[in-house]
Symmetry: C2
Subunit: 203 residues, 2 copies
């Protein structure tokens, strides 16, 4: 990629202006609908400067959402680490580890709090989940279950994991908040597994 | 109950002063530790005035939390309506109905938003759940499962239901947000049932 010099290059203000324009564009038009060209125009800079600061559109989106994890790395790693029949357990273990990590935990909590407080942030999180998580889940689960069911399955998994985060880490319900992680993983994993590969509706 | 005249009787300010004192007392000392006498002192009124305005300590607590439902009515009704083996389904159906109701839905969402934004509100919700929900669940589930497990089971049920509220109603993840309620109930009910009466740990 050619690194052209745009307006106010190297300036922290430029980076912030790009982020603000990207935030607005992703929230309003979605990931697919927001072009780097339009974001650059919104920020008053050359498109090359957007690439210079943020690499790819995916990376810009991750930065905009302030996501504590990168699903592009995490999802393939989770899938590759074992059988799809034990994916629920790996998912629970990984999710709780991220929340209990001293850096990614607070980042995750801040993300959730922003999404609660602010409609734009809520839209960004929704779009992030739809693009970064569901599309990747489609790729990996469509061989195992009916592809038409994958988006709802991913949402149901999110409902359990987000709810676990809210009750264990944000509201700190007891005894859940002080239950050892292994016990929580054992309790939650079969439910996640059912959402991932089990039968969703009554026969 | 004798209706004695306290300071500033009949005044809206008095009611608000009692509520503020109750909020502070319940958040700091918990439901059991907060006495009506101490709340009255905090509000600068006679204890009889607290009973006059709010009836019982339970009712005062419900008002303080601004709870959209009264677990004292809802939990026994849910239990009485059928077999404990189908309690998960009734619970899912009732919870989603409350959220989709034009009055209790927004009240529930406001409660969750307050709990996210404010530590005192979070403590009140935690205490509300511990006292109003877990204690009643203990009474009804202790014949069916190990009583020592009931508090964690109730927390796990809450984790799924709160997560459903967050993803379906607050963040509005798709396709979950636009999936018909009956489909969501069918998908979620077996997971709630496992938390209620199933085996929690791997054998």
């Amino acid at each position: 990629m050619a690194r052209r010099t745009g307006r106010r290059p190297g300036n922290q203000d430029t980076r912030e202006a790009i982020l603000a324009a990207a935030r607005a564009a992703f929230a309003e038009h979605g990931y697919d609908g927001a072009s780097i060209r339009a974001i650059a125009t919104g920020a008053g800079v050359d498109p090359a400067l957007v690439y210079h600061y943020f690499g790819t559109k995916d990376e810009l989106f991750l930065t905009t959402v302030q996501a504590p994890i990168d699903p592009a790395e995490m999802i393939p790693a989770l899938i590759a680490a074992g059988s799809v029949d034990t994916l629920g357990e790996r998912l629970a273990e990984t999710f709780l580890s991220v929340w209990e990590h001293p850096v990614s935990g607070p980042a995750f909590e801040a993300l959730l709090r922003r999404a609660f407080a602010n409609r734009i942030s809520a839209r960004l999180v929704r779009e992030f989940f739809a693009v970064q998580v569901i599309r990747r889940a489609m790729r990996h689960l469509s061989q195992v279950v009916d592809p038409a069911e994958v988006p709802l399955r991913a949402n149901l998994v999110a409902s359990q994991l987000f709810g676990l985060a809210v009750t264990r880490y944000v509201l700190r319900f007891e005894p859940l908040a002080s239950t050892p992680r292994t016990t929580v993983v054992a309790a939650v994993a079969p439910n996640l597994q059912r959402y991932l590969t089990g039968r969703l509706a009554a026969p």
